[in-house]
Symmetry: C2
Subunit: 338 residues, 2 copies
DNA sequence: GTGAAAGCGCTAACAC
DNA sequence: GTGTTAGCGCTTTCAC
């Protein structure tokens, strides 16, 4: 840009400074809400800026101060309502702080996650919130070396990159198994999403299975389907699961959306729940409780995990020490489906 | 901290340039994928950058080139699955282009929308996608003066700020009214979200009502509820609506989530659909089709509106001319609930 | 194909 | 309280 800079450019603090008859620095202070400016000067600057339609340039600001106000958020999907709910917790918490969430969606693809992390880092974010705790190895390497706060959210892990806000999914699976065993169910089935992509569901399944085996029970029919998690998955695959074993008395699902779909299949087919078969799940989505026969599930505090993650990032940005590992608590919600 | 002894800062193109034995400019060209660099030089630079763990600084890049790769996206809510779906269309389209979505959530608050727009603009985005077509007056003013492409998505409007990708919600309401009239229904009820906040629903309602009145019919019971749109709204308020008029034979809902909740209420109460009462709605969510009695609805191409919006922005950024107004087509999906 | 110089618009650090 | 001086890390322009 070897251009002579004669006339002051519009939409810069220089233009505002000139029009208000103060120095660039004074405008800069006003724009950033610093208090070491007299009220008279501040009002004049603000008024001038408004008249000129000036909008502060955070690109230049961040570069000069090496301080950004963007928080990178990486989630696997927007179609599974669980993640938008976490995101809502994050954006609600960030609201009014001057920080903004920049979101990236991996579609459960670790390569894509790696690319996104690199791409996000090129904006020099103030922090990062990343879903789940299994990453591309390069991501682990890059983030371990990064110099901003990082929260891994959803799954509890003992060895986070930096901080972790998550649920013990293994325990969630166990809890449901124990509930079902206590109810006297003996013939178990499982229907869910693909365990390669949905690691948290896989962990719940492992906890569920472990608890069964400790009680001399096992799962007779397991069906995991490589299609997006949702009502459709349950609605369309329940028939196949039931065909795998003739006398299941209870089915555990990877999450409430799948369970709700299966429940609809049962209603449509005249299969009584829990009379003919009981259904149990995980999530605590609105739909689980709204069904004519509310579904027994383990509720996870999705929104709260979002707010907690954002709070931890903010605390760290402001120099406050924060807890490294925060365990989110789940809750067994006993419906009428078991 | 292992730091190089030289004056050159780590993690800058200067550091890479020095290590690779080329000039800053050459590294810059390589990082941006310019082709006027010899293959040998390019490989050497890339290898050096990789070894140094260098990550390009887009803050500095955008400032120097006054060219950003962020697309601001402003939506009312993350809890109504309609918006995450639009967002999914946007992020999927942006994927691989180098552009990223920066999202802001207004919570249906116009003041908050104004603040968000200003905040977003301070990042000098390459474009903006904003939901709905009714804005804070200041937003209209600011965006009209803005020098980047803007898409207003969801509602069709004849006078967009810049571009528009939307549905004719009035026509969607009419279409459903005509279907119901054709089916012979005579006593209409309506249950939905607050019309002050959900403008699109209000427009559908207006179209619905207009069509009824043109056919000498009217709505006997209208209940709009100031709570977040969702299954719960329908589940919890259907009883009240039915109590308002003793012999409704059909109810129209503001969207499928509400309709699904009402359907669950009916199932729980043993009210036959469509025997005792018919239900009709708008959205085309998965849940509407998955119910034991699929709900008659008008499907809107949410995901496609997202992809189209992003495509328009990208086209404009690349200097291609684009259509200003794009009408998205809806489709009547006749279920078994009418 | 490559490099040197001059900014992009702002803020840190210090002076007054 | 307010102004001055140097950059932040990159890209533009133009020279070779």
């Amino acid at each position: 840009m070897a251009r002579p800079n004669r006339a002051t450019k519009p939409n810069t603090i220089d233009a505002v400074a000139e029009a208000a008859g103060v120095s660039t620095m004074t405008v800069s202070r006003v724009m950033r809400g610093k208090d070491n400016v007299s009220d008279r000067t501040r009002d004049r600057v603000l008024e001038t800026a408004r008249k000129l339609g000036y909008i502060h340039n955070r690109l230049a600001s961040s570069l000069a101060s090496s301080r950004s106000e963007q928080i990178a958020v990486i989630i696997p999907s927007l179609r599974n309502s669980v993640f938008p709910e976490v995101l809502a917790g994050i954006t609600d918490t960030l609201d009014g702080t001057g920080f903004q969430a920049v979101i990236g969606v991996t579609d459960y693809d670790l390569e894509r996650e790696r690319d996104l992390v690199v791409s996000m880092m090129s904006w020099r974010p103030a922090g990062m919130i990343i879903t789940n705790s299994t990453h591309h190895e390069e991501v682990d390497r890059i983030l371990t070396a990064a110099n901003f706060p990082i929260v891994e959210v959803m799954e509890l892990t003992g060895s986070p990159i930096d901080m972790c806000v998550g649920l013990d999914h293994f325990a969630a699976g166990r809890t449901m198994a124990q509930h079902l065993i206590g109810r006297g169910y003996r013939r178990f089935g499982y229907l869910g999403t693909d365990h390669e992509t949905d690691r948290a569901a896989a962990t719940r399944f492992a906890g569920f299975e472990k608890s069964l085996s400790e009680n001399d029970r096992s799962i007779e029919a397991v069906l995991t389907v490589k299609e997006p998690s949702g009502i459709g998955l349950g609605r369309n695959n329940m028939r196949s699961l039931l065909a795998m074993s003739s006398d299941l008395d209870v089915v555990y699902f990877s999450n409430d959306a799948v369970a709700a779909g299966a429940m609809m299949y049962c209603m449509a087919e005249g299969i009584a729940v829990p009379g003919d078969i009981a259904l149990a799940s995980f999530s605590g989505l609105e739909i689980a409780g709204a069904m004519p026969t509310p579904i027994t599930t383990v509720s996870s505090p999705r929104y709260n995990m979002g707010t907690t993650s954002a709070d931890l990032i903010l605390a760290r940005v402001e120099g406050r020490a924060t807890k490294t590992i925060t365990e989110a608590k789940f809750e067994l919600s006993i419906g009428a489906s078991t």
